[in-house]
């Protein structure tokens, strides 16, 4: 089994572009830690995202999973330039976003939108639903006056809400309905690419499936490309075509959905998958669980070498010294581990 993975193409995640909508190379996002009141000295940095490479193809859904604090949300925001990345490249449809000026970036934003986690915090409580969804149309001068109202009503209908609710305020809606409003706002400018940052984790179980189905329907209808960020591995498996696993600011594994879930190479992915409870007592009794000891280390001073070595049951000397490269171990299956495989 292991020998199959020896044939490693040394090209570190050298993804051929062309059909890629998004190319991310060596992206780093560090947040400075400062000390002092008047003169702020930088005493360190939270390395939220610390050098990641991946690509997103047109029309696919890339799932980004990891535990809290692993940098997955920061990645999403850094791609949309909501944070200014510390270094690295973010190419969207061939255009380097990190070098764009304010006005040019604003224009690009029409093509990429975001859906946020908390439908209670991400909608302005003092704006009506009509204004919330209509605002992006105004900002990008896509519609005004009657055309705008019509477009807003159309969008409400698309996401499964009553089109006559434009004069309502967010507090009048339930959590699932608010998330639909957030989706309508993102769709307003007819984007190609949507970063969905934990779009269902604040919702009730019975409502989650409604929103997942809505996102899938919209993808088919409008040929959308998603970066789907979530901590729930079952949901990610369901919605994604490919999945990237993050740990402490790095992508440790990236593969097609089935490949990753059935043959995870990185020990962290293996542990993560084994930890997810399955709603079936017969399966649960038989499953062998890998219980990781300890907690995720701090991203301020991450462990040397492989970041996972402090919790890894396979770790050897080399793991503490050398940071493993992100290598294509099997076709379209990348992992960063010295001892990948089962």
């Amino acid at each position: 089994m292991a020998t199959e993975f020896i044939q490693r193409s040394r090209s570190t995640a050298r993804f051929d572009s062309g059909k890629n909508l998004l190319d991310v190379k060596a992206l780093k996002m560090h947040f400075p830690l400062t000390q002092g009141i008047v003169f702020q000295r930088q005493v360190g940095a939270v390395r939220a995202v610390d050098g990641i490479d991946f690509f997103v193809e047109k029309g696919e859904t890339l799932g980004l999973v990891g535990e809290s604090g692993c940098g997955k949300s920061t990645t999403g925001r850094a791609i949309l330039q909501l944070y200014k990345p510390t270094s690295g490249e973010v190419k969207f449809d061939g255009v380097e976003l990190t070098k764009l000026g304010g006005e040019q970036m604003r224009k690009m934003r029409r093509r990429m939108q975001m859906i946020f986690q908390d439908p209670y915090a991400s909608l302005n409580p003092r704006m009506t639903v009509g204004n919330i969804i209509g605002e992006p149309l105004e900002v990008h001068k896509l519609a005004a006056g009657k055309a705008k109202t019509e477009r807003v009503q159309e969008l409400l209908k698309i996401v499964g809400l009553n089109p006559y609710f434009t004069n309502r305020y967010p507090h009048e809606f339930s959590g699932g309905q608010r998330q639909r409003i957030g989706v309508a706002r993102a769709l307003a400018v007819e984007p190609e690419f949507i970063v969905a940052d934990e779009p269902i984790s604040a919702l009730d179980v019975s409502i989650q499936a409604q929103v997942i189905n809505l996102l899938e329907e919209l993808q088919d209808k409008f040929k959308l490309t998603y970066l789907f960020i979530a901590h729930d591995l079952s949901v990610v498996r369901h919605i994604s075509d490919r999945v990237a696993v993050m740990y402490l600011g790095k992508i440790v594994e990236l593969a097609d959905r089935v490949d990753l879930y059935e043959h995870p190479l990185h020990p962290y992915s293996q542990a993560l998958l084994s930890a997810v409870p399955i709603p079936d007592p017969i399966v649960e009794v038989k499953r062998k669980r890998i219980i990781l000891t300890g907690d995720v280390p701090s991203p301020v001073n991450p462990p040397t070498g492989c970041r996972f070595h402090t919790r890894c049951w396979k770790a050897q000397e080399i793991c503490a010294e050398v940071d493993p490269e992100f290598i294509e171990h099997a076709p379209r299956h990348w992992a960063a581990c010295h001892f990948p495989g089962a």
Binding site: L161, P277, V283
Partner: protein, 381 residues
């Protein structure tokens, strides 16, 4: 086996400005010593209020336990005076809450908080309590427990705090632990650690526990029996294997169909439960799930079904459904194949497009025609 806990017809209500919220509306169940029970349901279904009622921790006002009895170890908790209840809390029934940060006191050291219960309930002296505290922390796998005992909660990570909560819950050897969403705030690898610990310790100490969660996956591997709650009522009771293999209530079917499974072999489309959860101030007159049920018939909207034994199932399997009960139209339905009437489904979908019930009610009260343009009763400050 004598029952450790017997809850009968428990009704807990909250008296709010908008009306009476029937958070728990006639819940009955039993638990034997050492048994593990899962209570599953969505937010607002009354599962947490049930747990708080058992400990008499319902804030009064606005809450009140208006009816029912809770017999724990032969005594009716609802008839006790406050001192007696206090001697039961922590001592005989312990609780683990969802959020370990807000349920630990941030200005007291961990050891102070655990020994407090030991000194109070077990009448230990300070030195003894400290020694026991360290033992307990070791038991829940806190590394270098002796040193960490004098730390404050903020110096612990989320998973460690939850383990401290477990140590605290176990400190007085309770007969029953109520764990209310103990792992919801935790990451999946930490969740696995904590669940593993809880399961092993409960087995070791022969403690009965009630695990309250919204996650069917969590209860599948943890408990012997499961009660499913919806709209303040228990809608299905069965042992764990039976519930997953042979569920008998359309709501349970909906739950099982709507969650993606980690081990699903192909990309099947999820079948969501359409519509919105019921408003507990004015619950539906018939079956509480009727407005969202694709299998509904006339009788469901008029007469509430009782929790009854179901044909074609194990003897202790009960469900609250006209369709699956004796003589019903769903007795032989295979929930995996038949997802009910498409026409009904379309009708229910309209429900999501509509306003939530509480907004409608408020508007009816304010006597504003719904959706009237221009007229807005809110003061737009």
């Amino acid at each position: 086996m004598p029952e450790l806990l017997e809850v009968k017809d428990l009704k807990t209500q909250f008296f709010t400005r908008d009306g009476v919220v029937r958070a728990v509306d006639g819940v009955s169940f039993q638990l034997a010593a050492g048994e593990t029970l899962g209570i599953v349901g969505e937010s607002g279904c009354g599962k947490s209020v049930t747990a708080l009622s058992l400990m008499r921790l319902i804030p009064m006002p606005p809450g009140k336990i208006v009816e029912g009895s809770i017999v724990f170890d032969g005594q009716d908790v609802l008839k006790m005076d406050d001192d007696d209840v206090r001697s039961i809390r922590g001592n005989n029934i312990a609780m683990i809450f969802q959020d370990p940060m807000t349920s630990l006191n941030p200005v007291l050291t961990i050891s102070r908080q655990i020994s407090e219960a030991l000194e109070l309930h077990l009448k230990m002296d300070k030195a003894e309590a400290k020694k026991r505290t360290i033992e307990l922390l070791e038991l829940v796998n806190i590394p270098s427990a002796k040193k960490r005992a004098d730390d404050y909660p903020h110096q612990f990570s989320g998973g460690m705090r939850q383990r401290v909560m477990i140590a605290m819950a176990l400190s007085c050897n309770p007969k029953l632990i109520l764990a209310d969403e103990p792992t919801t705030a935790l990451d999946v690898t930490i969740q696995a650690q904590v669940l593993d610990l809880l399961k092993n310790l409960a087995r070791e100490f022969r403690t009965a526990f009630i695990l309250i969660t919204h996650d069917l996956g969590v209860v599948a591997g943890m408990t012997q029996r499961i009660h499913v709650m919806y709209g303040g009522q228990i809608v299905e009771k069965a042992d764990t294997g039976e519930l997953f293999a042979n569920p008998k209530m359309p709501y349970t079917w909906g739950l099982l169909r709507s969650i993606p499974r980690l081990d699903e072999s192909r990309k099947a489309k999820l079948v969501p439960i359409e519509g919105l959860p019921p408003d507990l101030i004015a619950p539906p007159p018939g079956c509480r799930f009727e407005p969202r049920c694709q299998y509904r018939r006339e009788i469901c909207s008029t007469t509430p079904p009782e929790l009854k034994h179901i044909p074609n199932s194990k003897p202790d399997h009960e469900a609250r459904c006209w369709g699956t009960q004796e003589g019903g139209w769903l007795v032989n339905t295979d929930w995996r194949q038949d997802i009910g009437s498409v026409k009904e489904l379309e009708a229910i979908k309209m429900d999501v497009a509509d306003l939530p019930p509480e907004v409608k009610r408020a508007e009816a009260a304010a006597d504003t025609p719904p959706g009237a343009p221009g007229k807005d009763t809110r003061n737009g400050n």
